[in-house]
């Protein structure tokens, strides 16, 4: 049941999955928000789109595999995943490279998209 006064939270992920802990930390906020029954959405933009790539292997850099964290999203009912289309195009990627179902946001719809959220946290 949703509370009318419940706020919509957006997490913006701009970082690639490895090389910086912010990618993981952003997802941990997302999981925590969901555990507290928040209306949580996540936007992957810039190098953040790399986080969603299928077939990641991180053993050689002794890092936890980012896909394992993303695999928890369906279990936590986190389904509002958005990806910046331009960021995918720039990196010669498409939604078919993404490990989870996503919705594309393009430049024209971005401002309207962002306006629906009460709180935006940017990683």
């Amino acid at each position: 049941m949703t509370n009318d006064s419940e706020k919509k939270i957006l997490i913006i992920c701009r970082r690639p999955p490895y090389g910086n802990s912010l990618a993981r930390e952003a997802l941990e906020v997302t999981l925590a928000a969901s555990a507290f029954d928040q209306d949580i959405s996540i936007l992957f933009t810039g190098d953040g789109v790399f986080q969603l790539l299928k077939d990641q292997s991180s053993d050689s850099i002794a890092s936890k595999n980012h896909l394992k964290l993303l695999a928890a999203f369906p279990l936590y009912d986190i389904e509002q995943l958005f990806v910046d289309r331009h960021s995918l195009d720039e990196r010669k990627l498409s939604e078919h490279n993404c490990c989870l179902p996503i919705q594309l946001i393009d430049d024209a719809s971005c401002r309207t998209f962002l306006r629906q959220f009460n709180s935006v946290l940017s990683f």
Partner: protein, 130 residues
């Protein structure tokens, strides 16, 4: 308006933390409220009370301490980020059998629930990036 801040940057390494402090002071001077400052990622280093900068530089952890005390602002250090980076209060230092603690009130070590709560309680969230 009630603002809460998410601070991701380490003090001194970039301008981000100094800007966050100036933002808070300006907001308070304009009759807004700063509800909570949540320190995450490298931001937890703002709670390191062993920080000893030269006398001709701003003491950032001390600035936060004073601002919070004078204006009743919650300062929260994310426990997972703090432990990894060696920012421990006396409770955590005992728990992890470490030789000393380096943070205390008004900095409080707590979980991501405090960040989520800040989103609910505040009118605006502002992120100061790493």
């Amino acid at each position: 308006m009630k603002y809460s801040l998410l601070i991701l940057a380490a003090p001194y390494s970039t301008q981000s933390v100094g800007t966050a402090l100036r933002f808070c002071k300006a907001a308070i001077a304009s009759q807004h409220q700063i509800e909570r400052v949540f320190f995450y990622h490298d931001g937890v280093n703002c709670g390191n009370l062993l920080s000893s900068p030269p006398s001709d530089e701003v003491d950032l952890p001390e600035e936060w301490r004073q601002l919070a005390t004078e204006n009743n602002i919650d300062l929260v250090l994310c426990v997972a980020s703090a432990l990894r980076r060696g920012i421990l209060d006396s409770k955590e230092a005992t728990r992890y059998d470490k030789p000393s603690a380096n943070t205390q009130a008004p900095f409080e070590i707590s979980g991501l629930g405090q960040l989520i709560d800040a989103c609910q309680q505040s009118d605006r969230m502002i992120t100061f990036a790493a």
